[in-house]
Amino acid sequence: MGAVIELSTHGDARIARAREAAARVCDPEVPVLTIDDLGVLRDVRRDGETIEVVITPTYSGCPAMDMIALEVDLALEKAGFVHRKVTLSLSPAWTTDWMSEAGKAKLKAYGIAPPQGRAKGRGALFGVEEIPCPHCGSLDTRRVSEFGSTACKALWRCESCREPFDYFKCI
């Protein structure tokens, strides 16, 4: 696709370059994932001379958002963009369905079980989940707590290899 960008207008090439810079920013709490893997990076566009990067929070109170906005700003500055802004957008609401397959593979390699299946409605509120252990792959796992070290994770334990692990919650 590189050729397409080369052939496009000056404006589009700038956006592509800005997007590339922004997409490399990592989540400060799950450093193996970029904000692009997570689906937190929603849009890169032009507002006159200004490059605008739109990001969305995973959870309403996600404390990493300020940090991510700052890092995106720094990444754009490094890439030579003088006129730039980072905008926070709430709608549409972030869902784990936006996480890339590459992102899920990186999570698993890092020892965090990736979100299973699609985000569900209230029907699954009291449902049972089956989460494979990211270490040994066993399905004999148990939820220890609905809430883990960050808002986006739950705490699980594998009954086969006895290792505790984080599960990236499906929302």
Binding site: L90, L125, A151
Partner: protein, 250 residues
């Protein structure tokens, strides 16, 4: 008189902030590490929701008040949260039961509000709905565990229920300004949520071996700024830094 939509948004913000603060009081005091984390996580969700609502309320008001101004620089009588959320945190059974009664209401509430004709409220609600689903599931599981647990845990849960139930009526109150917003498709009619709320409560209470109290006098006032003495103490803690050092920043 304040604009109805501002008042409506402020009430949603105040409920979320005050409950979030009560949950945050557990940080470092949870009955076990996992619950300490869970309560802090739920606090974070509530405070995040409050920030979104306050920011919107401030912008809508157009007087330059930020989310921080609205959270830190208003006094008791200006707060419009329901009395339920300002009750002191009590023991773990009390905190968990309150979270259950509240999130069993707020989960369907946000689900409906996410279809509001006001786009901003709809966007905030769509995020909050997903978070409340987790609060509801977590608190419901604990209500069952405590009610169907030991004699001691069941007694604490029953005591908490007797204390909390009279404060649940205020969730369903509607005033004239709100009625207009409901008719305009902006606000949620709480009466439409009541059947589902009762069904959730009854289903969980049946497993928890406790019974919903009947014909109880319902407390009211918070939405009009008439609060218990507890809110003042909460605000003293919450607002201390900005009162003692006005304008201080991180």
């Amino acid at each position: 008189m304040e604009a109805p939509l501002f008042t409506y948004t402020l009430r949603l913000a105040d409920n979320a902030l005050v409950l979030g603060h009560r949950l945050s009081e557990w940080c470092g005091h949870g009955p076990m590490l996992e619950e300490d984390l869970a309560l802090a996580n739920m606090a974070l969700d509530c405070i995040g929701q409050a920030r979104n609502f306050y920011t919107y309320a401030g912008e809508m008001e157009g007087k330059g008040r930020s989310e921080d101004d609205l959270a830190y620089l208003r006094d008791c009588a200006d707060f419009t949260n329901i009395l339920l959320v300002e009750r002191p945190r009590g023991d773990f059974a009390f905190t968990i039961l309150r979270q259950f009664l509240y999130s069993a209401f707020m989960h369907p509430f946000f689900e409906q509000l996410s279809a509001s004709k006001d786009e901003r409220l709809a966007a905030i609600a769509a995020k909050a709905e997903k978070e409340m689903a987790y609060h509801l599931r977590h608190s419901a599981e604990w209500v069952i565990r405590l009610g169907d647990g030991t004699e001691g845990s069941a007694a604490r849960l029953s005591e908490a229920l007797a204390d909390l139930w009279p404060f649940t009526g205020e969730m369903f109150e509607v005033d004239a300004a709100e009625r207009a917003l409901i008719e305009a498709g902006v606000a949620v009619d709480p009466a439409s949520i009541r059947p589902l709320w009762l069904e959730t409560v009854d289903r969980v209470f049946a497993d928890a071996l406790i019974t919903r109290p009947k014909d109880v006098w319902m407390q009211s006032g918070g939405r009009r700024g008439e609060h218990s003495e507890h809110l003042g103490h909460l605000l003293a803690d919450l607002q201390f830094m900005q009162r003692a050092y006005p304008g201080s920043v991180w």
